[in-house]
Amino acid sequence: MRILVVEDDAETAAYLVGGLKEEGHAVSCSANGRDGLFAATTENFDLLIVDRMLPGLDGLTLVKTLRASRIETPVLFLTTMSGIDDRVTGLNAGGDDYLVKPFAFAELIARVNALGRRPRGTSAESYFRVADLELDLLGRVVKRAGHVIALQPREFRLLEYLMRHAGQVVTRTMLLDNVWNYHFDPRTNVVESHLSRLRTKIDKGFTPELIQTVRGAGYCLRAPD
């Protein structure tokens, strides 16, 4: 992926650029908002990683300006502001995801992958299939190898999210954000508990196991090669 990092702190920028390059992405970097806006409007990127607080032009205005000129490149906001409203204002300004510093690099990579591979505007898709696991959003039916599997509503949403991001690593925080809509850490094993139940329902007695735990990062739904 071609990624533009707009970050004024040189050390953080170097850390981000280095890490993303290791993951095989092509990364450019701007140290202030104006350069970032210029780069984002003149070049083609698959993803922008934008710090909220920037000299020259702040991240929020940068993204608003981009969206106003119909540039729909996905944006991941980085911020040290963990205010309850900050996330909402960030997303309202046209950001697609929001990550509060400090973060684990695995978290960033997972979110970058989730954003980058998401073709914008196709969330209306209603049928997903991974190996012999099927999920039909309209009929609200889940089948494994043709057998209908009964899921609790939350388990259904969890599976839907995993299937939308099939093949990608999703972190615990991403699940909390998107499946539970909890933008704080409940500290209890709410994700683990539901995931283990979901696993029992869709993987037990079937091969191969589709929900895999990625150590130190999160979970991944995929058919093993």
Partner: protein, 450 residues
């Protein structure tokens, strides 16, 4: 008190204004009394003079006009008590009888300035022309009228003097006492500026406006003092509670630096350190969040939230967690309850309470999430059958970082209940910890259902 300052006080000025108004009304009263009283007395004199003329004429008619001087001399003697004035002149203007000098023959009513008994007197008189072409002037200077005038002047003079005295005295007393109380508030404020936050404005127990003011000011001071104390306490606690994990982190890193011989060992030590670091960052995050909630940066949404639905969702989400711990999580929630508030904060509040119950209760415990209307008020509660909290510790556990000895080893920042308390306060609700017999029951009561 300095006299200049006294005069500059608004209460004193107000008193003077009232005194002025009062004196003015006294003066009006005086003028009217004086006017009516003297008018009446003057009319009496005029009538008496008229009667006197008639009586002299009658006597002259009997005795003959040439006896007139004798009649007048006789009247002069008889009516000495009213200080009469008579003057009889012939047509040529020569004085025939009377007790004053000859003067031009002026007719009708008049007021004369006459020298009587060594001093000037204003004398009311009337000039008549006699049928035999003579002139008769009759007048009198009644002492009663004079005395009455003097009495009225003296009475009102005293009255005004006393009114003025009372007004000034009253003004001094009233403004003095008011100033003293304002002064007390000002002294307290100065002491507080001088860093003694424990000072309070004295109250008299008179339940007047000054007592109300003192009570409000004292209430404000109490709140400020509480806040200051909790800020000091929190800074202290933060310093202490972050030192411990930071020390451990440092030890871990130093140990790895010295002892680790393989890459794996070093990576393990680093993983451990990162986990430790994350815990510290989490504590910071929780502190920030509490601070944000307390600062009220987020305007409380006015929308009514269906708490029944919100709680049911949380119970549904967390019952698998409780089951995994060998506990049960159940709901006794009345349907359709609503409250005005922030859905995200209320969710976090309930989750924190449920989370606490799950973590501090043993296997087999039963945790209940309740919501019901108690009269006008909405009560949300999370009750467990765990070890509970002894009554004397219930207040303490709301303090940041405070942990019971029994839970020191349990994972957590010690900020969960502080966060709950902050959210409760934000919603103007009340938080209470009670005995669930056995276990703990944490209840949040909202003032009114939306």
């Amino acid at each position: 008190m300095h006299p200049i300052r006294l005069i500059r006080t608004s209460s004193f000025r107000l008193t003077l204004l009232y005194a002025g108004l009062f004196i003015a009304s006294v003066l009006v009263l005086f003028a009217m009394t004086y006017w009516f009283a003297t008018q009446h007395a003057a009319q009496d004199e005029i009538n008496e003079i008229g009667a006197e003329f008639v009586s002299i004429q009658d006597e002259a008619a009997v005795a003959g006009d040439n006896r007139l001087p004798m009649i007048i001399e006789d009247h002069l003697r008889r009516r000495a008590d009213v200080r009469p004035v008579y003057l009889l002149e012939n047509a040529a203007g020569d004085k025939l009888a009377g007790n004053i000098d000859a003067m031009p023959q002026k007719l009708g009513p008049m007021v004369l300035d006459l020298m009587l008994g060594g001093e000037f007197h204003e004398v009311r008189a009337h000039g008549y022309s006699l049928p035999g072409a003579g002139y008769l002037l009759i007048g009198q200077d009644t002492p009663v009228l004079r005395e009455m005038e003097e009495l009225i002047f003296r009475t009102f003079g005293f009255g005004i003097a006393i009114t003025l005295l009372l007004a000034v005295l009253g003004g001094v007393i009233v403004s003095n006492s008011m100033l003293r109380r304002v002064e007390a508030v000002s002294r307290t404020a100065q002491a507080i500026v001088g860093h003694d936050l424990s000072q309070r404005v004295p109250m008299r127990g008179t339940d007047d406006e000054f007592d109300h003011l003192a009570a409000s000011v004292n209430g404000m001071l109490g709140r400020i003092e509480d806040l200051m104390r909790s800020i000091r306490q929190v800074s202290n606690d933060i310093a202490h509670d972050l030192r411990t994990p930071l020390t451990r982190l440092r030890q871990k890193l130093e140990h790895a630096r010295r002892r680790a011989t393989t890459v794996e060992e070093l990576q393990d030590a680093l993983d451990g350190s990162i986990a430790q670091m994350d815990a510290i960052l989490e504590t910071f995050g929780a502190l920030l969040r509490i601070a944000q909630i307390e600062a009220g940066g987020r305007a409380a949404p006015v929308a009514a939230i269906d708490v029944s639905k919100l709680l049911a969702g949380i119970v549904e989400d967390f019952s698998p967690v409780a089951e995994d711990q060998g506990q049960s999580l159940v709901a006794t929630i009345d349907a359709g309850l609503t409250v005005c508030g922030d859905p995200e904060l209320l969710t976090q509040m309930i989750i924190n309470l449920v989370d606490n119950a799950i973590r501090h209760s043993p296997k087999g415990a039963r945790i209940t999430v309740q919501a019901k209307l108690a009269g006008e008020k909405l009560e949300l509660a999370v009750a467990d059958t765990g070890p509970g909290i002894p009554p004397h510790e219930r207040e303490n556990v709301l303090r940041p970082f405070y942990r019971l000895d029994a839970s020191r080893t349990t994972e957590g920042s010690g900020l969960g209940l502080s966060l709950v308390a902050a959210i409760v306060k934000r919603h103007h609700a009340t938080l209470s910890l009670a005995d669930n017999q056995p276990g703990l029951r944490v209840a949040v009561v909202f003032k009114g259902a939306a």
